[in-house]
Assembly symmetry: C2
DNA sequence: GGTAAATAGTACTAAAATAGTCCTCTTTCA
DNA sequence: TGAAAGAGGACTATTTTAGTACTATTTACC
């Protein structure tokens, strides 16, 4: 549940690779080799990320891709938005869609708020954070209970 | 992205209905009528919820379903777990599964931590909270912002 | 004891989302 | 002008999700 798609996950791997490969342009082929992902997949991801503005591209023989801004300026939420479209935890909270149950539905509003909260939390996590497995992450907090993201390993 | 399935969403609607219909048993037919959902769907949901222990059932001619415990004791995370299985935001963080990229993957650990944090946050939200659409809800806030919980009803 | 009203369990089908691949076009550099 | 690279789109297979149907079992009540 509450899963991001595999492609989005791969997307973060690709972005992480770009982040760690300096400020020059890296070709899709290079990124694929470095990450172990298939070239067609990497290529597709980079195209989408470019279109979303997270990545800059250069065509031509020495072209390639690089982050459009510092890794600290790219949030997890932005990555997800770029690769999966706008966030919404339930179907009926997406777009302006009205569901048939609106009149009797007692829980929709709350899901929307939960959604917003998760989204905001993901906005606080940068690509740089995703890379730093060891450093402390921002904490989520619900109600009065602080929730810390536990270190693993 | 980060979506719960429509059935899970419906599941909360069904549970909310049970919560608001007192302590007696309500039949699937009654719940379907009250929520506007289809009977086969409601029936399937209630069966799953019973199997997961969130709902108690009674067979026979005056049978039906009711919450197995107070609505405040049922969390959103439990509902999601019951209807969609264990939470994991990425594929590779599910079960003990090892993905091919493990060696080169730089972001997996962090996703797992994010996942855990979201899960814990959802654990703090009760079915009773889901129902309180109009009154101020516990706010899902981030980091340092103060929180107010207002209970109504 | 029979009958009606319920749930339990399982299996199946249809539809939708996802993943992955391939092909052709355009741009740029040497 | 040729090679290397991205851009864009189309297509297919797979998997997940949703919804439905059918049969068996249990219980209350007459």
């Amino acid at each position: 549940m509450l899963r991001i798609s595999r492609l989005t996950d791969y997307g973060t791997v690709v972005l992480a690779q770009l982040a760690s490969s300096g400020s020059g342009f890296a070709s899709a082929t290079e990124v694929a080799a470095a990450t172990g992902l298939g070239l067609p997949t990497v290529s597709k991801l980079l195209k989408n990320l470019t279109r979303s503005g997270l990545v800059d591209s250069a065509r031509g023989s020495h072209g390639g891709y690089r982050l459009s801004r510092d890794a600290r300026e790219i949030s997890a939420a932005q990555v997800i938005d770029a690769l999966e479209g706008p966030v919404s935890i339930t179907d009926c909270s997406a777009h302006d869609r009205h569901c048939d149950l609106e009149a009797t539905c007692s829980v929709g509003g709350t899901w929307q708020r939960i959604n917003l909260a998760i989204r905001q939390a993901l906005d606080e996590i940068s690509l740089a954070d995703l890379l730093r497995t060891k450093s402390p992450l921002p904490r989520f907090r619900f109600a009065s209970t602080p929730i810390s993201i536990e270190r693993k390993r």
